[in-house]
């Protein structure tokens, strides 16, 4: 226990006057839970930062991949679930491929993302979280994904349209949509998918947890 705490001091310089963060109050419960659920030996990580250096989007993340692993070891569950890291990750699997200790970093981030969805914490990258949710909703309705239908459903979600107008990207999106239509790259109609019952059966496996 002693050396975990001293490792923490090195990783995050203590700012005087600020309350120092300690190991999660449940000890290594969170670490054990994550190891059990993902089957990854998270304790093997020795912070070489290979994952962060390989990651193509690490500079958009607030908690870097190697830090995320450290946070798991320390049991800082809430910090991880409200970080942008778990939503920014592209699942390109660079971190997993190059980890010298075979820590499956991408799998851990996916698992944290699953946890975040099932928790009451508001995701930091809301637009990305809503996109994934919409994708699965459209998939349940039609069995296959039609890009046009997916984008329509996405824009009709609360806050998304508003955010797009505010950031001035709605016009760009519409122009892109028109260009794609003209090139014949969007499919307007999808034939009725026959095996929709089986898709519903697949969704019932999750006991209504996601959609």
């Amino acid at each position: 226990m002693q050396n975990i705490i001293s490792g923490l001091n090195q990783a995050h310089e203590h700012v005087p006057g600020k309350k120092r963060k300690l190991i999660g109050d449940r000890g290594d419960f969170f670490l054990n839970r994550m190891q059990g659920e993902t089957g990854v030996n998270i304790s093997a990580c020795y912070q070489c930062e290979r994952c962060t250096n390989a990651c193509p989007v690490s500079h958009f993340m607030d908690i870097k991949p190697h830090q995320a692993i450290r946070y798991v070891q320390l049991g800082w569950r809430e910090d991880l679930l409200k970080s942008s890291t778990i939503w920014i990750c592209l699942s390109c699997e660079m971190c997993t491929t190059y980890c010298p200790n075979e820590v499956d970093v991408a799998e851990i981030i996916h698992h944290l993302r699953n946890m975040a969805v099932h928790s009451s914490i508001t995701p930091k990258e809301k637009s990305l979280a809503v996109f994934h949710q919409t994708f699965l909703e459209v998939l349940r309705k039609s069995g296959r994904i039609n890009e046009l239908r997916l984008m329509n459903a996405y824009y009709l979600k609360p806050d998304i349209l508003h955010e797009r107008i505010k950031n001035n990207i709605l016009k760009e999106d519409l122009l892109l949509g028109m260009a794609l239509l003209r090139k014949g790259r969007l499919k307007l109609f999808t034939p009725k998918f026959r095996a929709i019952k089986e898709i519903k059966k697949a969704y019932s496996q999750t006991r209504g947890e996601i959609v």
Binding site: L90, A106, V117, H132, Y154, K187
Partner: protein, 277 residues
């Protein structure tokens, strides 16, 4: 030879030129592709983001149908291939309850590796009518086809060679470069465009620096990312081809410019300059 074919959702919409070129090429090579009956979406990438169960169960349905047909699967889309292989791994481990009868014994091929086998290369070589001499290209693999190596089975994941070998057979000059399997940003562009554009721009820039006139890809999402970013560029654009498009072009005695009308970065002027159209 008969194989079951899992096209994936993109090949019905954004990448239906890819689907058409695959059809032609495989017919020319004498391989029968049987589309999996009533295939459904593999759930990438939303399914494994939100629930691990879904990421196993959704591809498992397609595996189950293919097993009933008794034919090995070939998938042109990198993401679908990755998800099918992942699901197959999990089915073999028997961690999840799958509502269908599925053993995971079928072989799941990714289309480029299937085409890069020595016997296929030989039959491609026989079919080439018009070598694509003088066309300088780089091959771009993307992430999901090669990584993680434990799932995809690639041993040369740092410097993959499958596309290089296929394209070299058509007579085009393939340039080596170091951004073969760097991520292009994938679907993050829908919600956070600036991230995707920064990644895609870098790949495009590096391809041009390597001296390439065109990029060859096999993933529908990589193609649309690399292509759409060039939509406002009229000169000095780098066309992004699917590898089957180049194969089809080399299988024909005289090409037609209407084959490429779905591209934003227009390849017609480049191909005309090289006397390939």
């Amino acid at each position: 030879m008969r194989l079951s074919f899992y096209p994936g959702c993109s090949l019905e919409g954004m990448a239906n030129d890819y689907a058409r070129s695959i059809d032609t090429v495989f017919r020319d090579l004498g391989i029968d592709l049987v589309e999996i009956e009533d295939w459904s979406c593999c759930g990438a990438t939303a399914a494994h983001s939100l629930s691990q169960t879904m990421s196993v169960v959704l591809p498992a349905r397609n595996l189950a149908v293919a097993e009933k047909m008794g034919l090995d699967i070939v998938s042109p889309c990198a993401m679908c291939f990755n998800r099918l292989r992942f699901s197959q791994n999990m089915i073999r481990k028997k961690v999840f309850d799958i509502p269908w009868h599925v053993t995971g014994e079928l072989r799941v091929h990714d289309m480029t590796r299937f085409m890069a086998e020595p016997s296929m290369i030989k039959s491609i070589k026989k079919r080439v009518l018009k070598p694509l001499n003088g066309l300088r290209v780089v091959c771009y693999y993307g992430c999901q086809m090669v990584r993680p190596p434990k799932i995809t089975g690639y041993t040369d994941y740092e410097n993959p060679q499958t596309l290089d070998r296929i394209i070299a057979t058509t007579g085009a000059q393939v340039i080596d470069w170091s951004y073969k399997s760097t991520c292009c940003g994938a679907s993050i562009g829908i919600a956070r465009r600036e991230i995707q554009e920064s990644l895609t721009r870098r790949i495009l820039q590096k391809a041009q620096q390597a001296g390439a006139e065109a990029i060859v890809v096999s993933c529908p999402l990589c193609q649309s990312n690399l292509d759409i970013i060039q939509k406002d560029r009229s000169d000095r654009c780098t066309p992004v081809f699917y590898f089957t498009e180049l194969l089809r072009l080399s299988f024909m005695e005289s090409g037609a410019s209407k084959l490429f009308k779905m591209h934003f970065a227009d390849p017609v002027s480049l191909l005309k300059a090289k006397r390939l159209l």
